[in-house]
Point group: C3
């Protein structure tokens, strides 16, 4: 078995791919905050009294555009953050490079598509469901491989 | 001190245990999405217009069964995801195998119990509080050990 | 290039700093649960029927003090958890020690300040926005460095 030294080097194409997609998805997640802020200013929907730009405004929690971005953001936390943890451990199980790189790509692309069809341009279902399940399926597969590697 | 090479190998029983429980908990977290979906379909509670299965339905945000699963899910993000980060660093501090393995087990089992008594079969308190504090206590202990290892 | 063995050792001051701040921030995140609980008991705002301390109480979801702490907590998940993932990979890119240590410090201190001005003593804007953007900027910088290391 390859040692962690080689597995966690950027000379390992599997680790390199993991690192690339984590970088991209971290930026994607934090951009959701800016997307939320844009919607808050556009719709003048602020959740805290100290955020109100004018004394005429009141705190508001139910703007559908703000809430949509917040749901997409929360969905990212629910799905991308577990991928970060399991992806690293999956790299350490020394998987087939072709499969692993395509799983990381699938998660990365599916989660970007998920955000676009959910919170940027609303596209009818099942586009969001499909994007969701591609990333979920890849994550579950990696988790099962990781459990198998640890259990036997 | 053992080197990261040995610490992050599956031949290290502490790392093996960490890997096993992260795998199990990742699957547990993503299953919460399916549990939410089941409750959404059962109670016809959909948060987005494009998710409505029939033109007669309207978006709805206050179904108690859906919200209960969502609270359990969010509680997972608040507690399991920090454990993923601190658990890995705790492995790298080369802790006593017996203690570390039992801490990981405690977190894993406590968080599964937490979900069951919160979102599957509602069990009166203090069952949920106990499950919550077992995992929290183990996580804080690991964090303090990690801080001590880094500070001295 | 230094090998992962050296990079993930506590003899590497960059890794040591990362480990320290992850430990501190994990404790900070889980303390938000206790802060929420304190507000729930103070304002008698409980989200689950099984949590009600007296048969006269009803579930309640809209207490502004509870919701404020919950928003601060969620903001932590959105920003600190991606930092945990990207920080570790940034360590593995073998960055300049001075820069990396100060980036970790910036994230750690900014996120503690964010919680204080948001959920402990409410301080007028732009204090919260500033704390938010310092941590966000450092995280995005690390993510870009990590992407560059993986892409070339």
């Amino acid at each position: 078995m390859a040692s962690p030294v080689e597995l966690l080097s950027l000379t390992n194409p599997v680790f390199k791919s993991y690192v690339f997609w984590v970088g991209v998805l971290v930026i994607k997640i934090v951009l959701m905050s800016l997307l939320t802020a844009i919607q808050r200013f556009k719709t003048k929907t602020f959740a805290n009294p100290e955020d109100l730009m004018s004394p005429k405004l009141k705190v508001k929690f139910d703007d559908p555009n703000v809430e949509r971005v917040r749901r997409a953001h929360r969905n990212d936390l629910e799905n991308i953050l577990p991928f970060f943890a399991i992806g690293l451990l999956y790299v350490l199980t020394n998987p087939s490079a072709w499969l692993a790189i395509n799983l990381f790509r699938a998660v990365g692309i599916a989660r970007i598509v998920h955000t676009i069809v959910y919170a940027v341009v609303v596209v009818p279902q099942p586009s969001r469901a499909l994007a969701f399940f591609v990333a979920l399926g890849a994550t579950v597969y990696m988790a099962l491989q990781v459990i198998a590697a640890a259990a036997f």
